[in-house]
């Protein structure tokens, strides 16, 4: 067992609370100064089945899982059956003695302890945490502090149960305290805070995994003054959001593939009416309903082409929790600067995974004001300007603001006049050109590693795993964050001297390779994974070596 890089798996049936227990374990390690990454695996059901959290706690940041487990915590028999094969030779098994028959490892009488002390069944997790804390050599007070923060109901009883289980075990390990704690955020939470920092005023959604976390998180954020509204379907959601944005409210919507598909007519409306809007598409494997609680990148081309008609939208795919914060903030600012739809494209493995968040990035996001009407001459919503951006103004004040889905004149009146149709499309083309320039002038791709003849390209949540493997193999890695307008110049610059481009993607058709091909980047080979599960370091390393 590496004493500074732990892999801990906790599993059970849905409803047994393994996710929450896993988060508390992560917070224990985070409090000791370890950097955290949690992959949560669960099925689309409410009770039963098998779910688990795989926690990586390491001295340096590692946003990916290892194949081998150091500590296996089993709330049920299924967890042992599924994961025992992945246990390290010197790994430790801790199990629910009341449910699991296992010869090796340490059994804790978690359910009987709860019964004995008159607790309720879900408190079995607290007993497990009590025993676990002792086994890894923590002081009880350390655990107590964390439990007091994490458990809102019946804390007295929980502490009593934890203490009893704690006292029954003996210390087997001693986890070193290596530093200060960092906040733990899911990708969805970081994304939410990023847009809040950029002035989010309204979030409208219809629940759909893996984007639902944004809805729940923002609805629960009491201090941030965000109006959260759940509407009857995704079509209502985006059309209402466009209405709100027309009045000047910074608005975001969020969904997954199917819901995103329903929104596409209105993406075109936002482009035509030049209404700023941020749309989150958090992917799951498709097509159709696909696999709701797993991950994939199969909406890439669809998202890049979403909306009918000639339009360009920003498409941004952050790669980790810090980028979620920074780029969701940028997305909101870009939406308002260019009065355009901006799509944040992500996936379950980033939306719902939990990471150590680096507070240093907080200063990178602040609300940037949009270009407003200066009142010097009559207001025209679609005034023809050189850079294609017409000043904004909002209804309810001293000018008429006419927005529209119809082709229009400068004032916003419908037109079918051939000259005006072309003029307006040309205005929007000038705006798209300005958007492209904007991307050329910001760091829209990440490049890791020095000169090597081979470079790996990936997007989104794959950053964590691919970066980790490329570092070990000494290969250059390129991660475009902005996917439209594609930062072609920056990508070509990063690829100077590279003769083999390998594309790693979580979809079946190699969609990113097609995007690269459109941008004059020839892909030598692709590594595709489309079983909904994340890569692990060991397997990906072997695959890359074999190319």
């Amino acid at each position: 067992m590496n004493k500074k890089d732990f892999s801990i798996l906790i599993g059970g049936a849905a409803g047994q609370g393994s996710r929450k227990a896993g988060l508390i374990i992560a917070k224990i390690f985070s409090s000791l100064g370890y950097k955290i990454y949690i992959y949560d695996d669960y099925q689309s059901l409410i009770r039963g089945g098998h779910s688990f959290s795989l926690i990586r706690a390491s001295e340096k940041e590692n946003n990916c899982s290892k194949k081998k487990i150091d500590i296996l915590l089993a709330l049920d028999e299924k967890t042992i059956q599924e994961h025992l094969k992945d246990l390290n030779e010197d790994g430790l098994i801790i199990f629910n003695q009341d449910k699991v028959k296992e010869e090796k490892g340490i059994g804790i009488a978690i359910e009987s302890t709860v019964k004995e002390l008159g607790g309720i069944p879900i408190m079995a997790n607290t007993a497990l945490l009590g025993g676990f804390a002792k086994i890894i050599g923590l002081d009880f007070d350390f655990l107590k502090n964390i439990l007091e923060k994490e458990i809102s109901k019946g804390i007295e009883k929980n502490l009593e149960i934890a203490k009893k289980a704690y006292d029954l075990e003996e210390a087997k390990l001693k986890i070193e305290d290596i530093g200060d704690s960092t906040p733990l955020l899911t990708g969805n939470e970081a994304l939410s805070l990023g847009v809040v920092a950029a002035g989010l005023e309204m979030y409208i959604a219809y629940p759909m995994t893996p984007a639902t976390g944004i809805l729940h998180y923002l609805a629960g954020l009491k201090d941030c003054n965000v109006l959260v509204s759940q509407l009857e379907n995704e079509i209502a959601v985006i059309n209402a959001a466009i209405g709100a944005a027309y009045t000047g409210k910074r608005t975001m919507v969020g969904t997954s593939g199917g819901g995103f598909a329903l929104m596409t007519e209105a993406i075109s409306l936002a482009a035509m009416s030049e209404t700023p809007i941020v749309i989150v598409n958090s992917q799951r494997p498709g097509p159709a309903t696909g696999v709701p609680t797993y991950s994939g990148q199969g909406d890439l081309l669809f998202t890049l082409n979403s909306g009918h008609g000639d339009l360009v939208r920003f498409v941004i795919a952050p790669g980790d929790v810090n980028e979620m914060f920074v780029w969701s903030g940028k997305a909101m600012n870009l939406a308002w600067k260019y009065q355009t739809p901006v799509i944040l494209l992500t996936e379950k493995d980033l939306s719902e995974a939990t990471f150590s968040f680096d507070k240093k990035v907080l200063s990178e996001v602040k609300k940037e004001e949009a270009l407003m009407w200066d009142k010097n001459k009559e207001y025209q919503r679609y005034e023809l300007t050189e850079n294609g951006i017409s000043p904004l103004f909002f209804p309810g004040n001293d000018a008429i603001v006419k927005s529209t889905s119809y082709e229009h004149d400068e004032y916003g009146i419908s037109t079918e006049d051939e000259e005006m149709i072309k003029k307006m499309q040309d205005k929007r083309l000038r705006k798209f050109e300005s958007m492209k320039k904007e991307i050329d002038n910001i760091e829209a791709i990440n490049v890791y590693g020095d000169n090597s003849e081979t470079a790996v390209v990936c997007v989104g949540s794959l950053k964590g795993i691919v970066k980790s493997v490329c570092e070990k193999l000494g290969i250059k890695m390129i991660q475009p964050i902005v996917l439209e307008p594609f930062p072609q110049k920056q990508a070509l610059e990063a690829l100077k001297g590279v003769n083999k481009v390998i594309c790693i993607e979580a979809n079946a058709l190699g969609q990113l390779s097609k995007v690269l091909a459109q941008n004059n980047i020839k892909v030598y080979k692709s590594i595709l994974k489309y079983d909904g599960r994340p890569f692990n370091e060991e397997d990906l390393k072997d695959q890359l070596k074999n190319i």
Binding site: M202, A236, G243, K249, G396, I400
Partner: protein, 273 residues
């Protein structure tokens, strides 16, 4: 209010019922500040009205205009928001929104121009077209029975339900004013003859009558609403059938929101340690 004329050239067929709606709306607008009003339109002949009124406006998508309207109200509850929509937009493409907006008492006025067909796409049937109607998509005659939109609104808990007629400009203007002043969701069905595809001026002129303004229970309202079943028979009552006072969705949702409040992300992060 000043003249609401725009530069747009009117393209409705001469004699279209929509002219009456436009006149009535202009008349109703005399009672309001121009700045306080936002009009929203759908897609169809009826929706062209938006170009003929010099008011702040959002011309939305087919069936979705009422959702856009509710978003505008949510974004700025001080605005008076009126959505113009055809029966096709309201009862075919956008019927789910209509039901939910009524249910949540969204404080918008939906003015449904009811010509009982899709006019701009050349006369196909909608949910309120009479059974047997021969259109280019139903050459043998429509096999479906029509829906009663006012009954639908009553069952969806709309808090203001009325019907008027495009030829009764004063009546319609008054109903529009009442609907705008009503806090919460208001639905007006305007019988609007389409001289090109369903010229029923004569039919309406014979069948309509005005009801008294009075407080009614849902049951009483239902009885009046069911009087005309969108068929050849029965008289057609006009007026406000039902009205009820209830806090609007936007008022409730905006209660907690404080203008220009500084946001503290560091504080939010404390819960994540």
């Amino acid at each position: 209010m000043e003249n609401l004329q725009t530069k747009a050239i009117n393209t409705w067929c001469p004699g279209c019922g929509n002219f009456g709606v436009l006149a009535a709306f202009k008349k109703a607008m005399e009672s309001y500040n121009k700045e306080d009003v936002v009009i929203v339109s759908d897609i169809g002949c009826s929706s062209k009205i938006i170009d003929y009124l010099n008011l702040s406006s959002f011309d939305s998508l087919h069936g979705r205009s009422i959702s856009t309207a509710s978003g505008i109200k949510l974004g700025n509850p001080n605005l008076k928001v009126i959505a113009f929509i055809g029966d096709g937009g309201a009862l075919n493409e956008g019927i789910s929104h209509l039901i939910h907006l009524a249910k949540r008492n969204s404080d918008i006025t939906v003015l449904m121009h009811d010509n009982r067909l899709f006019a701009l796409t050349t006369g196909q049937f909608t949910a309120v077209s009479p059974k047997g109607l021969k259109t280019r998509s139903t050459p043998e005659g429509l096999v479906e029975d029509p829906l009663n939109p006012l009954e639908l609104m009553l069952d969806s808990n709309a808090t203001f339900i009325a019907r008027s007629y495009s030829s009764k400009i004063d009546h319609l203007a008054l109903i529009i004013k009442k609907a705008i002043d009503h806090e919460g969701f208001s639905f007006i069905e305007v019988l609007q003859p389409c001289i090109s595809f369903m010229d029923n001026f004569k039919f309406y002129n014979e069948k309509i009558y005005e009801i008294e303004e009075e407080k009614r229970t849902k049951q009483q309202a239902r009885k009046l609403i069911e009087e005309w079943k969108y068929a050849e028979v029965g008289n057609i009552p006009l007026g406000v059938f039902y009205s009820e006072v209830k806090d609007s969705y936007e008022k409730i949702m905006n209660r907690e929101i404080i203008k220009d409040k500084a946001v503290n992300i560091e504080k939010c992060l404390e819960a994540h340690l």
